[in-house]
Each structure stands twice: as C-alpha cells, then as structure tokens.
Symmetry: C2
Subunit: 213 residues, 2 copies
Amino acid sequence: MKKTAKIPYAAIERLALYSRPLRVLLKNGITVISSEKLAEYCGVNPAQVRKDLAYFGEFGVRGVGYDVTDLLREIKSILATDRDWTLCIIGMGNLGNAIVENENFRNMGYRFVAAFDKDQEKHGKTLPCGLIIQPVEKLRHLVKLLNVQIGVITTPPDEAQRVTDLLVDAGVKGVLNFSPTQVKAPKGCVIENVDFAVRFENLAYHLSKVPRE
Amino acid sequence: MKKTAKIPYAAIERLALYSRPLRVLLKNGITVISSEKLAEYCGVNPAQVRKDLAYFGEFGVRGVGYDVTDLLREIKSILATDRDWTLCIIGMGNLGNAIVENENFRNMGYRFVAAFDKDQEKHGKTLPCGLIIQPVEKLRHLVKLLNVQIGVITTPPDEAQRVTDLLVDAGVKGVLNFSPTQVKAPKGCVIENVDFAVRFENLAYHLSKVPRE
C-alpha cells in the first residue's frame, strides 16, 4: 500500500461509498468488477474511481477489473472498518434511537455498548437492542469500564459541547456529533460534526438551479 | 453576483456551514465578522473562507471583515434557503420521526406537509408536529394537492427505489434519501443520497491514524 498521508477527505468518503456495492456483489458471488460498473453503482465517474483507488496502490488489472474480495478487504483495512469499534450514545430521542437500533451499523462492526440520557424518566428503560438507558453521571465510569472508543452525540445543541467535554475527559478518542452545532475537542480527539441540515440546503441549492416547467 | 456554474460541491456544503454562526451572530446583534473568526467558528482555514466567498462576488472589506446581515442574506439567496420548501416524508420509524419533528429544519424553512408509511397500524396516527400518517397509496394525490417539492425517504433500503419512483411519478423534483442505499431518478429530479454510515467510517479512518498511548 502507498503512503496514505495526503489522501483528500472526499476520497475517504468515496471509499466508504465504493464498499457498499462491493459488499452486495460479494454476497451474490460476483468476483470481478470494472471501474465503469463500480462508478455506475456509486453515481461517480469511472476516472474518479480509478484515481481514488490509485491512492492506495494497484488493485485493478487493465481491461479486466478489480477483484471484489481483494478490493473490499483493502478498502475495509484503509477505512479501519475491518475491526469492531465500541461506541456509546448520548441523547435517546428519536435520532438516538434510530442510530442505536440501526442494523446496518451493527453489521459494519459499530457496537453500541452504552446509552445515556439526562432525562430521569428514561433511566432504566431497556431499548429494543438490549441496552439500558443510563444517567449521564455514569458516563465516565462506564466509558472506562467498557472501553468505549467513540461517543455519538444526539442531544439538543445546547448540551453537545458539555457532553463532548465529558467524553474527552473520560478518554474517548472520537466523537460523532449529530446535534446541529459544531463541537470542539483538544488535539488527540477526532471530531466529526454531522449536520443534517446541510444536506437539505444542498438539495435546495441544486433544485433552485433546475429549470422550472 | 458572479456566475455560479462551476462552484465545487464542497464549497456549497461549506456555505451552509458558514451560515450557522452567522445566524447566531445576527441574533446577538453582531454586525461585522472577519474571515479568521468565521473560519474558526466553522473549523476551516481563513483562506478557504475567503476563496469560497469569492466565488459569489465581493462581500468583504479588507482589514474590516464581512457585514453579517449582507453575507447571510447572500448565502441564503445562493443556497435558495431564503424561501420556504414544501416536503413530504416516507417511512415513519425513529429516523422519520426525528426528521419531521426537528425544529431546526422548520426554522430554516423546510415545511413538512405530509407523512407516509406502508404500515397500516400507523395510518391515521397524529404526530406531535400535527401531521397525520397517511398510506403510501395516497402519495401521488397528496403530493400534487399540496404542491410537494421535496420527498424525504426514511424507509428500509429495499423500499427506497420504489418510493423514489413514486415520488418522481408524482412530480417531485428533489429527493433526499436517508436509507442506506443509492437511489436513482431520471434527469430533472435531483437526488441527494445521505449515507450515515459514511460518517462512522470517516471517523474510524481518522481514529485509526491517531497514535495510541
């Protein structure tokens, strides 16, 4: 594998996308795929696929295509999704429930081991996935006990930074923040701010460019 | 405003991000902001802010900064979020509920006017936002009646393409697909596939690069 130091962020995102059809192909027993076909499945252009994969070394055979098993294994290794990750989630509203119960995430190796909420009425409630909602006061203890690597924040925005600080203080090294505010953490903790509304705005932008009938 | 034909997709995403602190500043009566400060709020570098904003014309005054009101108005106009959009949503599980009840979206002008599910047991149920869950069979009729512009899909993945086809057939011009599969539509309908798992994978990638203690 080549050095991965200067891979653009967008290429990492696309690698994750490429892995989707590859998983399906593998399940269906298909062993080789062309860059054209992979590009079509993912809605990008074939030159982009070839360029992205070239960052990571030589996978394909010209005129034949990529070996599905090899390519998927390599992408999973690059993305570090060839291992299980241990997660906790804070904020058990609709979005928190949607994420913690998502089978797709589970199949990809994201294991939720603790769920927290500040609402007393929710404490002790068992979720369909089997987790019991815990008070936020127990976060530090449980994060350490269960070796939580990633914290997922689905609280209202005004609580997100405080929860981030709690997570960092407890030793979590990665935070996925779904609340509509940017949170910050000291160096050594990776933050990924996921802002849904941006996708609405993107769509609105593109729609406003579509000629009206 | 300059021609907006060749603005990179990523710049559009960042414009949406820039609008977040601007809204807060405006509410707090702050009228001028430097590119450095705006960049800091959004976690990007100041040169990137200046470059992105330059795509759309001259906003700033060197050494002073940007007028918050002007800049926000211009960004909203570019992103077409200076108007209301009419949306429907299909798939009233946890994620569907999280989206339809999100006050943040409502404040930004995204108005949900219909909610659908294929589960008979949910039909007729009133959501906290006031909408009544309708059978998918009524989609075509209601989309036309209520002038729905955007369809939001929160169904399981194996239903997403069929629902997209229904939406396109009913005349919807934009689809925001939250189910973990890529959907396709004919030209003239804009699709935005939102894949949550990609954000988990991004984080895993970056975490795997953090030196362990």
